[in-house]
């Protein structure tokens, strides 16, 4: 709000077209921060689901710790991720500045693509949250941007396969990592779990319990910190791109300090809110996790995420964390893995890109048909309506920090809409 007021007064003397740009820019910034917030609460599970499920930390303590580490992590990312959209779409030059053809009209052409793409990402994030399914926020954002770009610039506006010099494009940055990362994380977690159970078999609980507790807290903290550094940076890059397109910022080597603060706070608050529905699925739905498995899964996640980003082969935290939890179930002899739940997740991952893309494209067309400021406002209002609708729907079977650890099989899972028709009295 303060930002909108600042922009309006700042731009009051300029001609009308520039004021139009300011309003759309303000909507893009608010939407980007909303996306950052959903990014936070969608991904709390990646770091903390196993820690909460094994009761190494109380649910509220776990989300508070993760939120704080995300905040610190976001401030640690000094490097500018301005070229974040270049992985999948062609709306920026290689130095990060927007394509000139998109900034002719006060930048509104680029702003509408970014706005529609962000809305696609948010809607998919909220929908998967409603179903309690972990899915990658980066892939949702990329999907939304790809859809909005296809709608706005045609198929040629999308970077499908890179130029052959490095891992790039929709195939290289989204599809292949999504297939490969859960497998890698699963193998590492399965190996770790199997050996740890062999080593500590029979060791008295008074030695094993505190050890595994601290092992889990340490590895979950690493995942949270890495998440803050990686993911907040993406929203910072998107907002800075919008500012450059609107002519409010020119420096491609730095980002405005308020952008950094706003993004860090948004992702930390989102993480603290906690996507309890997703935490429940990942912590209780896939595998019944023992403390040793929790430690093996979180260590595998932390190592795979850090190693992949060190080797320039960026993987989605969500896919890695899910693969680790599955692996920890495979590695412990006698553990039951609910493959049906895993199958639903994998299905959600496969349709993340097209689903967010369809929403992004639809939003671009609506915004374009209405046109100008009214178009951007329409898209924004649609986003609020969709979000409010999904939040209201979620209240019918609420999941929060009190029932997040309930036994999976005896209660109605949040992800099973069919089961809610069973009257409540039937259970008693």
């Amino acid at each position: 709000m303060i930002f909108i007021l600042w922009l309006t007064t700042h731009r009051a003397g300029d001609d009308r077209r520039v004021t139009d740009t300011s309003v759309i820019l303000a909507l893009v910034v608010v939407t980007a921060l909303a996306f950052d917030f959903t990014n936070g609460f969608h991904d709390t599970a990646n770091a903390m689901a196993t820690t909460i499920a094994t009761k190494a930390l109380r649910p509220k303590t776990a989300v508070a710790l993760s939120g704080l580490l995300n905040l610190i992590g976001a401030f640690l990312s000094v490097e500018v991720a301005l070229t974040v959209t270049n992985a999948v779409v062609k709306i920026q030059n290689s130095n990060g500045t927007p394509k000139e053809s998109l900034t002719a009209d006060g930048g509104t052409a680029l702003l509408l693509i970014v706005l529609a793409g962000l809305v696609g990402g948010i809607v998919w994030n909220l929908f998967t949250w409603l179903l309690g399914l972990p899915s990658s926020s980066s892939h949702a954002l990329f999907g939304g941007l790809v859809g909005a770009t296809i709608a706005g610039l045609g198929w040629a506006g999308v970077n499908w396969n890179g130029n052959g010099s490095k891992l790039d494009g929709v195939v290289g940055k989204v599809l292949l990592p999504a297939l490969i990362s859960p497998v890698i994380a699963g193998v590492v977690a399965a190996a770790g779990t199997w050996i740890i159970f062999k080593i500590t078999a029979g060791v008295a609980a008074r030695f094993a319990a505190p050890g595994f507790k601290w092992g889990q807290i340490g590895s979950a903290s690493l995942v949270s910190l890495a998440h803050g550094t990686n993911d907040a940076q993406k929203t910072m890059g998107v907002i800075t791109l919008a500012l450059i397109a609107a002519g409010d910022w020119t420096d491609t080597k730095n980002i405005p300090f308020w952008v950094k603060v706003a993004c860090a706070v948004a992702i930390a608050l989102g993480t603290y809110l906690g996507g309890w529905r997703i935490i429940r699925t990942l912590g209780k739905g896939l595998v019944d996790i023992a403390p040793a498995q929790g430690m093996a899964a979180q260590s595998a996640s932390a190592a795979v995420i850090l190693a992949s980003s060190h080797l320039g082969f960026a993987l989605s935290t969500t896919h890695v964390a899910t693969g680790s939890v599955l692996g920890s179930g495979v590695g412990r002899s006698g553990a039951q893995v609910r493959w049906r739940v895993a199958g639903r997740m994998i299905l959600a991952w496969m349709i993340t890109l097209p689903a967010a893309g369809v929403v992004g494209a639809a939003m671009w067309w609506i915004g374009h048909l209405v046109g100008g400021v009214a178009g951007a406002v329409t898209v924004f209002v649609l986003l609020i309506a969709a979000s409010a609708g999904m939040w209201w729907r979620s209240r019918r079977i609420p999941v929060d920090h009190q029932n997040v650890n309930d036994d999976w099989s005896t209660t109605t899972p949040p992800a099973a809409p069919a089961a809610e028709r069973v009257p409540a009295t039937a259970a008693s």
Binding site: D168, I184, G202, G215, A300
Partner: protein
Amino acid sequence: MHNLGFALDGAWRVLLAGLALGAGLPVLFALGIRSLAWSTGGDPEVRDSGVIAPTPRPSGKVLAYLLFGTVVLGVLLGIAFIVASGFGKALSFEHIYPTIVSKH
């Protein structure tokens, strides 16, 4: 499908590093726990009854803390990496021990 080649090339490196750090360090940690339990003497494993006057084994404690120390070093390496990459730097293992260098 050049992307597939790049992805598979990256994948096996990530798998190796993941196994070394993501499975190796927790295994050392588990050995530490086992060793700590052993250090108290007697039978570290759960027994129904009849364990009297265990003889402590200090070497077990030393070994346990050596193992825990190694794990902590691994975690510190992870934090150093996160912080360094946030500042646009990278960790180099050129001299065996890690050093912070600028990204090329």
